[in-house]
Amino acid sequence: MARKSTVLLLTPGLLLTGAVFLSPFVFLGLTSFWTQRPNSLLIDPAFTLVNYVRIATDSFFLGTLFRTILLGIVTVAICLLLGLPIARWIARRAVRTRGILVVLMVTPMVSGALVQTLGLVNLLSLLGVINGLLKQLGLIDWSIRFLGNEGGVLIGLVQAFLPLMVLPLITTLAKLPEDLEAAARSLGAPAWRVWVTIILPLAMPGILAGSILVFFASVTSFVTPQILGQGKVQTFGTVMYQQSALVNDWPFASALAMAMMLVLGVLLLAVRAVRRGLERRPVIGSAS
């Protein structure tokens, strides 16, 4: 009885979810097994693995996949290095100040990737603000090329996704009693050992959450590598865009998307396993 009504109540939501999310996904999956007819806008709906074989054997696509994941890992690493001290600093402010700082940090994210990235172009281009400043100060004679290479894309990714790392870190670090660090110091731990033995292990839930968010945002990003890479840095996002919008090979672009999702899904499961392992240790009780 109760079951029946639950199903009934869920029906509109389930239908909407199915229509909006599930059906495009199924269609994407199906398309990836089809092929684009040469010199035609029509799709040949015959089941084939040809797209996947192409991805798995073409060194360009494998290289792109590898580069995308590597960029993601490096972005996570830099965001962690920058984010941990920032998050600890913010977590130590009074609750009110913390709220203001968090809002300031999130505001650029709300404005969208495009605006931020174009702002970075202004900063980083050959005649941009940073090169101009360095020349004014007499530090350089020739502009430094920030854009059109992986370094520029990395700067953009870190700038765009750092808040995704800092926010969960603030949440975990704010929960740590300040006396824990003081206790460790009084027991003879210099600052770096306090980080290694106390702060990092206890911040692990936040580190994992932030890393997952930044990694996924980074490997799936399109605007940042497209604009800051100036067409010279290929990532999965830009390649998918080329295949679908420029080459007009939707089936192959779909296969790329599916491959990407497969890789990310496997990674996510791996991270979840690690996290389960962490949670099994009786870590959670606080020092109350």
């Binding site: 206790a183 110091r185 009084s186 027991l187 003879g188 210099p190 106390i198 959670i284 020092a287």
Partner: protein
């Protein structure tokens, strides 16, 4: 005289312009148990954190065992610190918590194992070595914190409100245990507390603090019997001393409020030479006795409330607008109404304006 084991001179600390410590000098002898006693916000915890190195002083110096330590970072001071909330590392077992300080000193495994065992034995927690802190009761957590601080064989052990997070029953037993621990280890201990009973029962000497200053630094007995100021008299003792204002009349006589009063010859001898318009008597139950309202030298009063405590009862009597507390045996018959209160011993006498005890008395 050789300098004290722990010696603090000219210590001052302000937070954003608000002084927490004004100018503090303090010395602690080796093996002594000192209590820093004061109400919250008096600067006692600030002083403790300055000694531990968790705060930087604005001025002043600290020497420990002949070594100047105020510039040393906390991890080089070899000072054990037990926090009010224990601050156990939640991700480490009891044994790992206790071992932490030894690991930081890169002590060989076998030696560290032995030290951890000794420290846990000292607090009677060997059987819980493998537990996580979240699996322990408050009292057990505190003992782990103690063992952790003791394991490094500190030159000084600091206790920050060690009993305030424990329930009343546990508090009494921990009080005794801490004293025993102090006796067995011979450690020099500085304990911060706001509870005067804790300070009186546990400490060899007490430093009473208020508003960033040390008002009196002496043995519990001297602090109880010869308080340096009315603040100390009112803060220490159960029940605290009541202040009774005695005015000097133009004709040289004495008055309580508006009515004239003739003190006993003994008290008058002490009061006579004081050239003040008024003084305050710091009256504890030990100084007072009930008499008939018209007995000579008695102060007329009215009984307000009677607290029955079993072996004794505390009688609150209003005298000249001020409540005084007297102690009677539990079976003494006492009614309500008009009584006389006699001052049986000369109490400490304080200046009305400065609150300081007048040197000629007590």
């Amino acid at each position: 005289m050789t300098p004290a084991y722990l010696s603090i001179t000219g210590m001052a600390k302000a937070y954003r312009g608000t002084p927490a410590l004004r100018l503090v000098d303090l010395s602690v002898n080796e093996g002594e148990f000192l209590a820093l006693l004061g109400p919250s916000g008096c600067g006692k915890s600030t002083l403790l954190r300055l000694v531990a190195g968790l705060l930087q002083p604005d001025a002043g110096s600290i020497t420990l065992a002949g070594q100047s330590i105020e510039r040393l970072p906390p991890h080089q001071r070899d000072i054990g610190l037990v926090f009010q909330n224990y601050a156990l590392f939640p991700h480490m077992s009891v044994a790992k918590n206790v071992r932490f300080g030894l690991s930081m000193r890169n002590m060989p495994r076998a030696e560290a194992d032995q030290r951890v065992g000794e420290a846990l034995a000292l607090v009677k927690l060997e059987h819980l070595a493998a537990r996580m802190p979240s699996e322990l009761s408050g009292g057990q957590q505190q003992r782990v914190a103690l063992a952790r601080a003791i394991a490094i064989r500190p030159r000084l052990l600091l206790l920050d409100e060690p009993l305030s997070n424990l329930d009343a029953v546990l508090r009494n037993s921990v009080r005794t245990e801490l004293r025993e621990l102090h006796a067995r280890t011979g450690l020099t201990v500085v304990m911060v507390t706001h509870d005067q009973a804790e300070a009186m029962t546990m400490a060899d000497r007490i430093a009473v603090m208020s508003d960033g200053l040390i008002l009196q630094h002496d043995t519990p007995q001297v602090i109880y019997e010869q308080p340096a100021s009315d603040f100390v008299a009112k803060f220490v003792g159960t029940p605290p001393a009541a202040m009774l204002r005695v005015d000097r009349k133009h004709d040289g006589g004495f008055g309580l409020g508006t009515s004239p009063w003739t003190p006993s010859p003994e008290l008058a001898r002490v009061l006579e030479p004081i050239q003040r318009v008024g003084v305050a008597l710091g009256l504890r139950p030990d100084h007072l006795a009930l008499t008939a309202p018209d007995a000579p030298h008695a102060m007329p009063g009215t009984i307000r409330t009677i607290e029955y405590l079993g072996a004794e009862r505390l009688v609150h009597v209003e005298v000249g607008g001020q409540l005084l507390v007297l102690r009677l045996s539990g079976d003494a018959a006492v009614g309500k109404g008009e009584v006389g209160v006699a001052i049986t011993r000369v109490p400490p006498i304080f200046d009305i304006e400065t609150g300081l005890r007048l040197a000629s008395t007590g």
